[in-house]
Amino acid sequence: MDLLTLGQMLNTTLVFSTALIFAALGGIFSERSGVVNIGLEGLMMFGAFAAAVGGYYAQDAGYETMAPWIGVLCAMAVGMIGSLIHAVASITFKADQTISGTVINFLAAGSTLYLVKLLFEGAGETPLIDGFSKYPIPLLSQIPVLGQGLFNNYPTTYLAIILVVVVYFLLFKTPFGLRLRAVGEHPSAADTLGVNVNRMRYIGVMLSGMLAGIGGATITLTTTGTFAHNTISGQGFIAIAAMIFGKWNPLGAFGAAVFFGFSQAIRNYVQMFGWSQSIPQEFIYMIPYVLTIIVLVSAVGRSSAPSALGQPYDPSKR
């Protein structure tokens, strides 16, 4: 393998990682506040759909350069609205968080495709849009290998990496972060100090909807150009795995997301090797999923999960 391919591979890895980074960061907000979010998959679906539709109409209206950003904004909004359903059910009405998250996945699959058919005369997918183009960072992108790998990428990828640092700062350096983590660890401690547990959890869940929405949007806006039933195929669940593998820490989740991104990028490159011809394509497709299981088997269990994860807060039990 030559250096050029190495650079390309690094680049593709980051492209595939971007959506996972956004969604995993979203998952961290929700779960650090104590709410399991198995609905990331559906929230990404909402985002991918909203980006495709919003981007299409913006493009149609002549805002070509702005269109992808408008798509991202739509994805944020729709992702947040979707997550609100999860929040209402699991926080206010104390529904089982796993079931409520599953409901999000159901509703997302149904409503996005329903709307696609409604908006585009029965079509199974949205019209193709241009999406983002890669933006090479001046000077840095000239560095051999690394320049091509890291600094010649989509704006969303840069945004994702910046966000990792921002989320880290927010969680561990600010009052907001301290309160959010307290609510996920020991809600009644936070409550007795005047921190509004349910409000923090709403914020956590809705931030997760927003970020997972952006994550979904990056897939339509950088990879597929359109939204169909299979645009998000398990990415949300892999993002959950990345979050767990990263021990609910933004930096760890970033590392894990890149790792999973790499395992998806491998698909495109493994064919270049002679020996890969003898491996059936299905086994190559399996790699990210098998890898996820292997990673979970070898990684720490729930020991580093927030202590109150999955438990609705019932003030009468304090």
């Binding site: 795995a241 299905e282 098998v290």
Partner: protein
């Protein structure tokens, strides 16, 4: 009689019923927003299901895998496991049935069919058992593993069909000689694809009930599901129960797979993506409040809705995905029972008050 009265006196059945009504209302609202006529659509839905003997038979065909995947999810739920992997277990069951049905075609039919069905159940069970094992021995969240195993199962099934069973040039296996079809009912149901799987599903529900509430092993499994800590203190082997319950859940799903390939299609396709049996199963299980007989009723309802949605799409032009919104909403209302109780409050208020006094 006393028992029957007790079942209907509790609100355990009121919540699902109200949730179904609310779900249908949400569906109607979504149709109104989309510019469709909900009354006409729902009428088209029911006309499709009850319109002809063929359609009615096909609706039953539609319900059958739902019953089994619903039982699968519900059974695992009773031991505290959330089985999102029924999809993969169905696929593995299908593949096992296809392989046995095609490769052992020389075996006499009366042996071949049971063999293929048992193989499907066994492999479905073992596949689910992986997630059970990982949960029991390594404490890994079964929700994630079962989802990942769904993808692995999809590609594994495709690989096996493509490599060993394929008709050259087509995206499907050879025809399977083993058949579970109920051919003697063909004249009644106008050649609808009814098969023994429906009978197996009903038997599975009875097994589920008897096993869980009448046997020693069921006692253990319920204890583990309700309070694994107390079960462990009482000397029960929690891990073994988890693996066992996932295995049985996988058997149910695997049997659903056998019914689909041996009773409906008589061949197995190479799938482009998840066929979605398992996710329907989750809906059915939750809708049936994870009780075996509730699951059967829920599968009947769900089967009617999905089968009828084709009529809705045909006659009223409503995208069939609408039904997913309806079902998603129904589960939402069941999961967030507080909302239903809130809706019911005006009716409840009187009764509760009397109780206190």
């Amino acid at each position: 009689m006393f028992k029957l009265k007790k079942i209907f006196a509790t609100d355990s059945y009121i919540v699902p019923v109200v949730a179904i009504l609310l779900g249908l209302l949400v569906g109607a609202a979504v149709m109104l927003i989309g510019g469709y006529d909900p009354v006409a659509s729902y009428r088209a839905l029911f006309n499709r299901v009850f319109g002809s003997p063929y359609d009615f038979g096909e609706a039953i065909r539609e319900m059958t895998p739902l019953m089994l995947t619903g039982l699968s999810v519900a059974f695992a739920f009773r031991s505290g496991m959330f089985n999102i992997g029924a999809d993969g277990q169905v696929l593995i069951g299908m593949t096992a049935a296809s392989v046995i049905g095609i490769k052992l075609a020389g075996v006499p039919t009366f042996l071949l069919v049971p063999l293929a069905v048992i193989g499907a159940g066994l492999f479905g069970g073992l596949w689910a058992g992986i997630a059970g094992y990982l949960k029991a021995k390594r404490g890994i969240n079964e929700v994630i593993t079962t989802i990942m195993l769904n993808w692995v199962a999809l590609y594994l099934a495709n690989y096996i069909v493509r490599t060993f069973l394929l008709i050259p040039g087509q995206n499907r296996s050879e025809d399977i000689p083993a058949s579970m079809s109920l051919t003697f009912l063909n004249s009644v149901f106008d050649n609808a694809r009814l098969h023994w799987g429906t009978v197996i599903a009903l038997a599975a529900a009875v097994f589920f009930y008897v096993y869980l509430w009448k046997t020693k092993q069921g006692f253990e499994m319920r204890a583990v599901g309700l309070n694994p800590h107390a079960a462990e203190y009482a000397g029960m082997n929690v891990g073994r129960n988890i693996i066992k319950s996932m295995f049985i859940a996988g058997v149910f799903a695997g049997l659903a797979g056998a019914g689909e390939v041996l009773g409906v299609f008589h061949y197995q396709s190479v799938f482009a993506g998840s066929p979605g049996y398992g996710f329907d199963g989750i809906a059915v299980a939750l809708l049936g409040i994870t009780h075996p007989f509730g699951v059967i009723l829920a599968a009947i309802l769900y089967g009617m809705l999905t089968y009828g949605s084709a009529g809705m799409s045909f006659d009223a032009n409503v995208p069939p995905e609408l039904i997913r919104i309806v079902i998603g909403s129904i589960i939402f209302f069941i999961a967030a029972q507080g909302i239903v109780r809130w809706v019911l409050k005006p009716f409840y208020f009187k009764r509760k008050k009397e109780k206190v006094l």
